[in-house]
Symmetry: none
Subunit: 138 residues, 4 copies
């Protein structure tokens, strides 16, 4: 169980495959439920600015048990969590591309994708998350 | 090839010349494509707060392959990259004055100018970028 | 050319294979010549304290063009670089487990291994570096 | 008066000339008496690990009004300043290559050189400091 090397490899492979499919190089980062790095890959051609963003999306999803996109809806001016991106030492991201990794009903970590448009990042992230669900572990 | 001392000197000279021409002292920073400092100069009279801003503009342009101004358009509330200025350990700047240095069709680094109004910083930055283009290396 | 996904995968695989062979889980980190993350994997059972050490060993090897072990020999009290481990924002490591990745005679990045004894880390690091040499790219 | 652009340029030129003369590329950093960057240049071929070291040597010389080498003699185990390299947020360097810039009898800043052996760094640093003395401003 849990976010093993094997699971991390499977998620990584699904994300990279999807990224090649849509022709958008990205950075893929997987963290455990403690927000600590498990695995990362910067694909050839992905911008370097995406290294931190990808990691922070993964961290945000793991630490808040939610997709970064959902957090984003609550953090615009006038909403409850306005300004949350400043907390947690600048590690919170509020735009799409980060999703929690849930296994056997419990939070196991976070997956963060950065490098493409927010729609592309989200699609690649979903491809990785579906792997866990397909294994009957979501 | 690449962002050599010679190229950095030429960019620096063009920026400083333009800054004298418009009478606005600034900080000029040049980083390579890995975001590492290549050259910097704080002109006499430039405010010290511009040291970090200039460096971060150069970093942002190099790491995101875009002018800081363009990134700024996508980071206002309601846009896709709202909050991006928080993500990279406080090193992302989203207002004018930073531009990527492109040589032979590839990203070679970033140029950041800070000290004047955003219009002045942008004009000085352009003067430096044009040098690379004039050399037929853009 | 350069430190591509393909090369990073080959180095990673060689390191993980060697780590399994000697029965010591470790963290493997690969950075490019600018010190920016290319790929990392924390094997099951590797201690979390090794995440930063592994990254910093890779950074040190890439930024100083030398094995961390060699830098260590020069940084003991009375030697020329005593205190160097403090200089680069705490990112310099001076004990074994980090080696530069050299391709076509130029520095292409750094490889850092942490998790086992220094002898084990060094052996796993060598296994990764040899892959690059076997490709005729060292 | 003071550490103007003109003086910084003259120091920089003397250091780079000396570095070419002895065939050792280095990073040259000049800070003012407040420890804030005035000018820096990373020569082609200088290792990137020298960026921070060069800056920290300049900072150390400016803030402690002494050559980094002298501070080093007092910071070995058993001496009065043992451990000083840990203070000041990791910005203190205790090996040769940093010297204070003194003008008209007052501390005006610091010059830091890194990239060669400690003897080479020291020789290049001296070449820069002599420029200020030759101007009758030391």
């Amino acid at each position: 169980g849990g976010l093993t090397e094997q699971v991390a490899h499977a998620i990584m492979k699904a994300c990279v495959t999807k990224a090649y499919e849509i022709g958008q190089p990205v950075v893929v980062t997987i963290v455990d439920d403690g927000g600590n790095l498990k695995s990362m890959m910067r694909m050839d051609g992905a911008i370097k600015g995406s290294i931190d963003i990808s990691k922070n999306k993964a961290y945000t999803a793991a630490f808040f048990h939610t997709a970064t996109e959902e957090l984003g809806k609550l953090s615009v001016p006038g909403k409850d969590l306005y300004g949350i991106e400043i907390t947690n030492r600048g590690q919170v991201v509020t735009f799409p591309g980060g999703m929690p990794i849930v296994m056997n009903g419990r939070i196991a970590g976070g997956l963060g994708i950065s490098g493409g448009s927010t729609e592309e990042d989200k699609a690649i992230c979903l491809a990785g998350i579906e792997i866990v669900e397909d294994r009957g572990e979501a």
